[in-house]
């Protein structure tokens, strides 16, 4: 499904992502963990076409994300770490604008938007300008805009930031359901509880390198073996020498 091969990103002399390899299969909910500045957002931005690659490759369903970036973008739903929206548009207008970018016809777009408004409980304020929204409201609109075109893979950077417990619960349930229906989710997060609760696989990145990549059961085994909780284990794994 998603394959990152020797993926590297350099900013002048600084290597933010250092030769990483990852393969994520269809229907997996991949939790991408790492401390601040580890290279999570950089990896994600390369996957969605916001950053160029310094070297390596990204393939989605066998399609090279650099050579045929438009085809890959059609298959990806992206939720950034900061939910920036056009301040002067309403939430509904932003969703309609997003559906236009993916060439979704009027009827399908309307049905899908109605469904997502209901699913993410955004009906009460969807007709207000986004400049009035709280962080959580913006986050939900951004998530809705990423789901509009039925993407094969959803790439999410910090989805739980700013969400109240009710919203977080809704989002987690949506993700689990989507994975069970065959959608792949690549989720960067700081929330170790969320990883434990919903992810099927976990990758940990530190200083631009992948230091752990296995299924959630393996992480549980490691926890038991070291007699630590997940937070202690994470700190141990990402400890700087």
């Amino acid at each position: 499904m998603l394959k990152l091969t020797s993926l590297t990103k350099k900013f002048d002399n600084f290597t933010a992502v250092d030769n990483i390899d990852l393969t994520i299969n269809k229907g997996e909910l991949f939790g991408f963990l790492g401390p601040n500045g580890a290279g999570k957002t950089t990896t994600i931005k390369m996957m969605v076409g916001l950053y160029s690659l310094s070297s390596g490759s990204i393939h989605l369903d066998g399609i090279n994300a650099v050579e045929d970036h438009l085809s890959v973008k059609r298959m990806v739903g992206y939720v950034p770490d900061q939910p920036f929206l056009y301040d002067k548009l309403t939430g509904l207008e932003f969703l309609l604008f997003s559906s236009g970018l993916y060439n979704i016809d009027k009827e399908t777009s309307k049905k899908k938007i109605d469904y997502l408004i209901d699913l993410l409980k955004i009906g009460n304020w969807v007709n207000k300008r986004t400049e009035e929204y709280s962080q959580g409201m913006r986050q939900r609109i951004t998530i809705a805009s990423a789901l509009l075109h039925d993407p094969k893979i959803i790439v999410i950077d910090e989805p739980m930031v700013g969400l109240d417990p009710q919203s977080a619960h809704i989002i987690k349930a949506v993700f689990k359901q989507m994975c069970s229906e065959g959608t792949t989710i690549f989720m960067s997060t700081h929330s170790l509880n969320v990883v434990e609760e919903i992810c099927t696989r976990v990758g940990i990145i530190n200083l631009g390198k992948i230091i752990f990549d296995d299924n959630i059961q393996k992480l549980e085994e490691l926890k038991k073996h070291h007699d630590q909780n997940i937070e202690e284990l994470f700190i141990e794994l990402t400890k700087e020498e």
């Binding site: 916001l50 438009l70 929206l85 236009g100």
Partner: protein, 560 residues
């Protein structure tokens, strides 16, 4: 004041660090900018001297008319700075994250107001000051005045003039926000726009340059003396008139008679600034809070109606429609865009109606007609450049940090650029063609088609220049279009436009002069030299346009 110094100190540190040259590419960029600024400063210096020689020696219009023309130019400057300051102050005083941050700290609202006031003033006037300095240097050296006179003009006339205009802008803004909470934003802003347009209309009606030229020239050769009685009394109370009068008496080496105008200017600047600061202390925090509730009320009433109306006109269902619709909605929901657009359009209409009356029948000197024709053409390009700088240069920056949505969507960059540029290009070409049509309607109707072709090519290149430079100097974090349009990159772009205009003038002035000379001497309409110039201008425009279009697309592909 300790708080003000403390905040200013850290603002300065931030500015220095932001502009610190830490890479070779940045060094090249800064070096390139400095060379262009320097070249333009030198150009402005020689432009001032050449224009003065033309008006005083070739046209023999005399010192009085020269300074009356300067008074009109200063009036336009005054209004531009004033309106610019209202719009910039609106976003920096009421909408910036910095003020929100400062209001959460124990900082006096008056101090925040003073900091933002000077921030606006110097931010939006720095390039203007550089150009004005060069122009005044040209002015002072032409009249063989000493360097102290230049310092006197800058410190006691120019700076107070700018402060006057800017202070008045801030006062007007505070009153708008205060009244808007009572009467509604749309009504207050609408009334203000009408007031400005009416004032401009009456100013031009009262000054009537054509009548003044006729009256003064009837006194020839005594055209250097002061014909104060020809000026409408109300005009004598305007800062632009004080400025031009002060210059007039300085040139006449009668410093004593220049002092009253200088004192009026200084006093008005001090009074206006004091009123601005006092009103700021009294109303700023109060109106800052009001502004938030005002915004919310406006939305509740209006949003669904607008949405339904636009839904009928344009759908959202393709990338092209979605982007055009989004851009239209964002444009018309941004008050600074709408106000500036309305005022610029009003100015263009005033210009159109003024120039449409210039007739070939009024002149007997072919060289003068050639100069008027070229001046109108250049003025047309200047307007195209101003519109492009204001509405094309910020076009990508205004996507802001929300640009992730488009950049991560399956839309080719080239398509995005074409969708965004085409409507603006079309509008600017249309304005240029209309201006060109009215300017030549009675002056040179046989040249309308040729001028239209030039206008189209020039519009194309100027729009592409602004687009390309706007992407190279993109500022996604700045939400204010006026601040984007007065940034370093924008100033550089405008200077490029001026250089391009000078090249155009050089290419067209001689064929046009030759053309009118032949008409007057032998009734022969000779076009081949003009065709050649138009051909060169067209090729040059396509070349410049293509370079900046490609550069813009290339820079749009860099990491976001």
């Amino acid at each position: 004041m300790k708080q003000v110094y403390h905040i200013l100190k850290y603002k300065l540190i931030g500015y220095v660090k932001l502009n610190y040259i830490n890479s070779f590419s940045k060094l090249l960029k800064e070096l390139g900018s400095s060379i262009v600024y320097l070249a333009f400063a030198v150009g402005a210096f020689f432009f001032a001297r050449t224009t003065l020689k033309f008006v005083l020696v070739d046209m023999k219009l005399g010192l009085f008319l020269l300074h009356e023309f300067l008074s009109i130019v200063f009036f336009i400057f005054f209004i531009s700075i004033n309106i610019g300051n209202i719009l910039v102050a609106w976003s920096t005083l009421y909408k910036s994250d910095e003020t929100t941050y400062l209001f959460t700290k124990p900082v006096k609202p008056t101090n925040i107001f003073i900091i933002k006031f000077f921030d606006n003033l110097f931010y939006s006037s720095s390039t203007l000051l550089l150009i004005l300095l060069s122009l005044f240097l040209g002015y002072v050296t032409y009249f063989e005045l000493n360097i102290f006179t230049l310092v006197f003009i800058i410190i006691f006339n120019l700076l107070p003039f700018i402060i006057n205009s800017a202070s008045l802008g801030v006062i007007v803004l505070l009153i708008i926000v205060k009244l808007a909470s009572k009467f509604g934003a749309a009504k207050v802003i609408g009334t203000l726009v009408v007031l400005y347009i009416v004032s401009m209309f009456f100013f031009f009606k009262l000054t009537s340059p054509a009548r003044l030229v006729y009256q003064v020239m009837s006194q020839y050769p005594n055209v250097d003396q002061y014909f104060g009685y020809l000026i409408a009394p109300v005009i004598k109370f305007l800062p632009n008139k004080w400025f031009s009068d002060s210059l007039y008496w300085i040139v006449r080496e009668d410093i004593v008679r220049s002092i009253p105008s200088t004192l009026f200017q200084l006093s008005a600047a001090i009074i206006n600034m004091t009123i601005a600061v006092l009103l700021g202390g009294k109303w700023y925090y109060q109106t800052w809070l009001q502004n938030i509730s005002l915004k919310f009320n406006f939305i509740k009433n209006d949003e669904k109606k607008v949405h339904k109306l636009f839904d009928k006109l344009i759908s959202w269902n393709s990338p092209t429609a979605a982007i055009i619709k989004k851009d239209i909605l964002l444009f018309f929901r941004d008050s600074s865009q709408v106000i500036h657009f309305s005022i610029l359009m009003a100015l263009i209409l005033v210009f159109m109606s003024s120039v449409s009356g210039i007739s070939l029948m009024n002149f007997t000197d072919p060289q003068l007609i050639a100069i008027i024709y070229s001046t109108l053409l250049i003025f047309n390009i200047l307007l195209i450049s101003t519109l492009s700088l204001r509405f094309v240069f910020p076009i990508i920056s205004l996507e802001g940090q929300s640009f992730w949505k488009i950049k991560s969507s399956p839309l080719q960059i080239i398509k995005l650029v074409n969708i965004k540029l085409f409507p603006v290009l079309l509008s600017i070409v249309m304005v240029g063609l209309l201006l060109n049509y009215f300017a030549n309607l009675k002056l040179a109707p046989h040249l309308i088609i040729i001028s239209s072709i030039m206008t189209m090519f020039v519009s194309l290149s100027v729009v592409m220049l602004n687009f390309g430079m706007g992407v190279i100097f993109v500022r996604y974090k700045e939400k204010n279009p006026i601040r984007i349009s007065s940034s370093q990159g924008a100033s550089l772009t405008f200077l490029f436009s001026m250089i391009y205009m000078a090249v155009m003038l050089a290419l067209i002035i001689f064929p046009i002069t030759f053309h009118f000379r032949l008409i007057f001497s032998s009734y022969y309409y000779h076009y081949s030299y003009i065709y050649m110039s138009v051909y060169i201008i067209s090729v040059l425009s396509i070349f410049i346009g293509a370079i900046f279009y490609i550069a813009g697309i290339k820079y749009l592909k860099v990491d976001f």
